[in-house]
Amino acid sequence: MADEIRALSAQLAQDPQSLVFLRLGEALRRKGQLEQALRVAVNGLERHPHLADAHDLYARILTDKHDYERAFDEWDMAVRIAPHHTGALKGLAFLYFKVGDVEQAEAHLAAAKRVEPDDPSIDQAIEMMRGGARTSARTAESAPAPAPTPSATASTAAVVSGALDEARVFAGLEGANEGLLLVDGAGRVLGGALKDGGKDVTDAVAAYLAGVSQEAARSVKLLGLGAWNGLSAEGQHGSVHLGHPTPEALLLVVRERGMPLGRLAILAQRATIMARRWLEKQT
């Protein structure tokens, strides 16, 4: 493997415009050298921005780095450029499955199967996904979170199996374990966690949220504004967005000050959808 990487690096150095960066990036990714793989993929994308394989490579590396949001964008771009790109279709199926959207995951695997009908791993993945969707609600909370490694060449079934273990409430969403919190109407934590400089502040914040929600409801009622659907706030060091995915639950998203409120609202929207699905599975 090291020899292969050396040889591919040399080829790329000789001809920076060549597509050998795809093989080099993949080799580095497989070896776990993700930062180097990322640099190779980004440089390649700068030279070949309309190459679906380049976006696919970048998405796989991002997925290995657990940056699922950007991975989704890259695979989405790959499919826009090349609608029959099976690697990207499988990748999107994986990400949809991770957030609990089995229907979309199956649709993307079915699209991949239409392109590659002889690929047995796709049938296997569909089967596993159907079985997994039935059992994931039971296993979700106790399961650990292994690193998924989807790739165009890896078994799609194995990828989907890995996703089953990550079916926690915000699995895959940026800041799932330090900037997202789901609580019930009484301030009890349902999922997610908040950290302030490494210190866990989940319970302290959860305790305040029910009071904030009650005051928000009273204020809009008095003003005759209908139901409230979100509260965004910019702080001195960070921003927050509070919403309620269901009438009984509250969702808080916390991010650093650098993130504009508009982007925070988009992130909150995604988290709300995930929380709503997760809550539906629990009942």
Binding site: V212, A216, G226, G230, E234, V240
Partner: protein
């Protein structure tokens, strides 16, 4: 005070603006359309601001410098006490108001009111 509120109510979609004492939730100055109960809104805005401040401080984001409560038929936009020296600058607006513009005017009004 009145000039500071003018800056806010000039924005299309704003139905009223108020300066409210953070400490006791009383109205200091107001320019509201008919039908909006200034005193009650001021008290609730101050109470909500206090609760939100405590939650945000617990989360490590520091006190809020601007917040925005969205509802089905309107919005409440506020520049709170710490940024405005013990007063809340409050706007009541239509749901489709330009939030960025109201935010700017609220911050300007807070500066002017100091």
């Amino acid at each position: 005070m009145s000039a500071a509120l003018d800056l806010i109510t000039r924005v299309r979609g704003v139905r009223g603006a108020m300066l409210v004492s953070t400490e006791d939730g009383l109205v200091i100055a107001e320019q509201l359309m008919e039908g909006i109960k200034g005193g009650a809104v001021a008290a609730l805005a101050a109470s909500l601001a206090g609760r939100l401040r405590r939650a945000m401080e617990a989360a490590g984001t520091g006190a809020s410098v601007f917040w925005h409560l969205q509802a089905e038929q309107g919005a409440l936009l506020v520049v709170p006490g710490d940024a405005a020296g013990g007063i809340l600058v409050v706007a009541v607006a239509e749901p489709d108001v330009n939030i960025g513009l109201v935010r700017l005017e609220l911050l300007r009004a807070a500066e002017a009111a100091l």
